[in-house]
Assembly symmetry: C2
């Protein structure tokens, strides 16, 4: 793995740490706040623009009491200033009176901006089957 690929996987890890933290400032720090960024939460319609994406994270964080993420397989592909990470996650979460576990596959696109990799596109969808536990890594 190249140093650049390591940086991108670190940016990807920071995104899932922010998600697990339920902290909106952490989530703000990983995204490029542009009007063209997009985000698809599992089961939602695709959101466009930082304002709508930001609002969705606020809404999710306000309605979630607890979230625990275990990462599965991750792969990264870089093309100069754009990179995308494909990864699987097991997400256990608790909302008002409900506990659920979801298996998710994501495509996360990052853009290099002033020397830092920022998330610009998140497409997450439900997976049919549980992850392979051999590759599991708990998000810190």
């Amino acid at each position: 793995m190249t140093p650049e690929e390591e940086k991108i996987l670190e940016a990807n890890k920071n995104f899932y740490s922010a998600l697990q933290s339920l902290n909106i400032e952490e989530m703000e720090s990983v995204w490029l706040p542009e009007e063209w960024v997009k985000c698809l939460h599992p089961g939602w319609d695709m959101l466009e623009g930082w304002e709508a994406v930001h609002e969705s994270w606020q809404q999710i964080f306000e309605n979630t009491k607890f979230m625990r993420i275990t990462m599965g397989v991750q792969s990264v592909h870089v093309e100069k200033t754009i990179a995308w990470v494909c990864c699987t996650e097991k997400i256990s979460s608790a909302t008002e009176g409900r506990f659920e576990t979801a298996y998710v596959q994501s495509t996360n696109i990052f853009k290099l901006h002033n020397g830092t990799w920022f998330l610009v596109h998140h497409h997450a969808s439900h997976l049919p089957a549980p992850l392979n536990n051999d590759a599991a890594e708990v998000v810190q």
Copy 2:
């Protein structure tokens, strides 16, 4: 819309024409046949590498009698030699003894190679609700 964006949307349209045609040669012509390309069909696990992706299309085409696609909203974002298209599709298909209609959201990543935009990543997932018919366009 810039001429480059038009070219990318044309490449995206060619992908859905190939899908609807159930013709493997047409599908081969829109992809960059690299070992790092990826493809997620709705409800499947993510496939990696042209060999696996190609095999999946063969399998889908062999098991499908008929497919009809109506495109919904499409948007494109270009960053030099990489671009991604987000689009929704209504896919009506017939397999052995079964007819079904699916609403799908896709993220398609294209790479400019020798002056032509090729598909290198397809992530498709089921949408919760029908498309907005105002933006519908039948694939020719």
